[in-house]
């Protein structure tokens, strides 16, 4: 057995705790966790948590201005943190469309989509998106979060059962909570575990998967999970937040990539990743759309997407549809980066997408590593427990079609150099 390698005094006190320690607290005062949290955060922030929510002072392109959360100084950094997978958000066509809509409509929709907030431009975008996804109908939501919450709770009820991958996004879990259905988690991407869990379930069943899992960058084992789901009479929802406009011959997503586009019942996605905007959508039959419009509270009781944003999204969708070379460029960049990481001995876990976790696997060091990397010119995000399992800390990278190979080579050099200095990679 390995000897214990640290003494208590060697570790900083803040490192003994994390967010999970401040979620539950018995007692009578709802505010009783504020003080302990504040005391902890006072130490945790300068020791690494400042790396969260750092302000940007430029467009989320391949290079960004970031205000350092510790020094408050602006830094010009190579950007591997933004979701702008196709580099569309700052394209001139997108900005021009948004500017024209601003002039025509003003800032916002000023109403719920069900009442006064639906504009012609929303209907046009829904039609265009339905055509792109090759579905009868499409419904817009104000955010990706509200799309999952609204759709799942519109469809499922108490007494029903929802099966979720254990790495499901919070919006999926919250949708299940709001539906008040029984929620059963199965092991990540594990159809055998799903099989075991489904064997005991009665009544209405929904299985929810994601095209690309956002912390590990691995794609869904869709054929196997779908086969189990269908055999047990369940419906399936696929959340393609990180995969729509990227995967498949037409860019429709991971379901299309596997040739299972018609087999999956419900298709959900977001506009904040590949299109570089904001919002969410659900595609399916017209009957489904009519029902969800009637019962999706997160949509019903929110203001509609701004027409300005919607105009920009229409232009972004046109680019994504008409420029397949962007996807080709993205996958070429991913292959290049994956090869370079392999050459340098950097572990990127099981990623097979544009989301790549650089595995640090050391909760005590992940912030120091991220800080060094940022100070050497690279912007990326550390991820640690409880967002990922203990000892599985990582730096999350988002690759873009807009990156050049020189950008990516520079990033690998910085990352591998720091990981070596910290004894994390050979």
């Amino acid at each position: 057995m390995e000897p214990a390698r640290k003494r208590v005094a060697d570790r900083q006190a803040f490192a003994e705790y994390d967010y999970s320690n401040f979620y539950y607290g018995a007692g009578d005062d709802p505010l009783n966790l504020l003080k302990p949290f504040a005391n902890w955060y006072k130490d945790a922030r300068p020791n690494g948590y400042y790396l969260y929510q750092e302000a940007l002072g430029s467009a989320p392109s391949t290079h960004v201005r970031v205000r350092n959360g510790k020094t408050k100084q602006w830094q010009d950094l190579l950007n591997l943190a933004s979701y702008n997978y196709l580099g569309i958000s700052y394209r001139p066509e997108v900005k021009r469309a948004a500017a024209e809509a601003l002039e025509k409509y003003g800032l916002g929709a000023s109403g719920s989509p069900i009442l006064s907030g639906t504009f012609e431009i929303h209907e046009q975008f829904e039609d265009e998106l339905a055509r792109f996804k090759d579905k009868e109908s499409c419904i817009l939501f104000p955010t990706g979060y509200s799309a999952n919450v609204g759709f799942i709770s519109a469809l499922m009820r108490p007494g029903d059962t929802i099966f979720l991958d254990q790495y499901s996004h919070a919006s999926i879990v919250d949708g299940a909570i709001l539906a008040k259905s029984k929620t059963v988690f199965f092991r990540h991407n594990n159809p055998m575990d799903l099989e075991r869990k489904m064997a005991r379930a009665q009544g209405k069943k929904l299985v929810v998967v994601e095209g690309v899992y956002s912390m590990d960058g691995d794609i869904c084992a869709l054929p196997e999970v779908l086969e189990v789901s269908k055999r047990h009479g369940a419906r399936m929802l696929i959340d393609e937040a990180h995969s729509t406009f990227l995967f498949g011959p037409k860019g429709r997503g991971v379901a299309e990539h596997f040739g299972l586009d018609k087999e999956v019942d419900f298709h959900l996605g977001t506009f904040s990743k590949s299109l570089g905007g904001q919002g969410g959508f659900v595609c399916g039959t017209q009957e489904l759309a009519d029902y969800v419009v009637a019962f999706s509270r997160s949509r019903f009781f929110s203001c509609n997407l701004s027409p300005v944003l919607t105009a920009g999204l229409r232009a972004a969708l046109q680019i994504a549809s008409e420029e397949p070379e962007l996807r080709a460029r993205l996958w070429s960049n991913c292959a290049f980066l994956r090869r370079r990481f392999e050459e340098e001995g950097v572990d990127i876990g099981n990623s097979n997408s544009q989301v790549m976790p650089v595995m640090v696997n050391n909760d005590a060091k992940v912030f120091a590593v991220a800080e060094k990397i940022q100070n050497r010119g690279l912007f990326l995000n550390p991820v640690t427990y409880p967002a990922v399992p203990k000892h599985r800390s990582r730096l999350r990278i988002s690759v873009s079609a807009a990156h050049s190979e020189e950008d990516l080579d520079q990033a690998v050099g910085i990352i591998a150099g720091v990981l070596r200095e910290e004894g994390i990679c050979p």
Binding site: M1, E2, P3, A4, R5, K6, R7, V8, R11, E16, Y17, N21, Y24, G25, A26, G27, N32, L33, P36, W40, Q166, V173, A176, I177, K182, T183, V184, F185, R187, R200, P389, K390, H391, R392
Partner: protein
């Protein structure tokens, strides 16, 4: 007020997801379980080999549910648990724990063993009650740190409600690699647990060695 010390050679612990409705069935009224996911609470199974205590050397099996810690000034606990069944290998240990800590006990001696794997990387606990196997649990190691961690234990019986701060000090390995395993047998010892609903792999595994538990005096709530 004096602390009570229990030195252990080894102690292994697994956190297993099980349905919140099951957790609520074993908790007293008014006490809520901590949820790891919506609808999933935590069954914490711990097997100790105590080698130094007021009642000598003994083995102990603890079934507990994770609950919210009591927040007050001072050091924040790492977590809290409600032990709903404790079993010991000796009568003296059982009587001592019932009288001093109001812990609910399996009223017969059990047999426990902790068997290391050949490479020393895992420890398998077996517990027999009434002469037949009730529990097998394997926990694997990861990296070892010297720790001092505060936990809370809540107890409740016909006489009242209690809480105790417990400091765990010693060497500890903790991870979430899902490499351990539990087998709960169909046995009266496991009553109250819907065995088929307990995840067989722990989402968190802890192995503590060469350490001790320091109990503060029991507090009445």
């Amino acid at each position: 007020m004096s602390l009570t010390r229990y030195g252990y050679a080894n102690a292994i612990n697994g956190f297993f997801e099980f349905p919140t409705e099951n957790a609520r069935r074993v908790l007293p009224s008014g006490m809520e379980p901590v949820e790891v996911h919506h609808g999933s609470s935590v069954l914490a199974v711990t097997v100790f080999h105590f080698d130094e205590s007021e009642v000598g050397e003994y083995g102990e099996v603890v079934y507990a549910v994770l609950v919210p810690p009591f927040v007050e000034d001072g050091r924040l606990p790492k977590g809290a648990f409600y032990p709903y069944q404790v079993a010991t290998t000796t009568k003296a240990a059982r009587q001592h724990a019932m009288e001093r800590w109001h812990l609910p006990h399996w009223m017969d001696d059990v047999e426990t063993e902790l068997e290391p794997s050949a490479d020393g990387k895992s420890l398998t606990a077996r517990a027999k009650a009434e002469g037949t196997l009730a529990l097998e649990m394997t926990i694997t190691d990861h990296s070892w740190d010297e720790v001092s961690h505060l936990y809370q234990s809540f107890q409740q019986d016909d006489d009242g409600k209690y809480m105790c701060n417990i400091l765990f000090e010693g060497e500890k390995s903790e991870h979430e690699e899902e490499t351990g395993r539990i087998k709960l047998h169909d046995h009266p010892f496991n009553k109250g647990i819907m065995i088929s609903e307990v995840f067989e792999q722990p989402f968190r595994e802890m192995w503590m060695r060469k350490g001790h538990q320091l109990f503060d005096p029991l507090r009445t709530l």
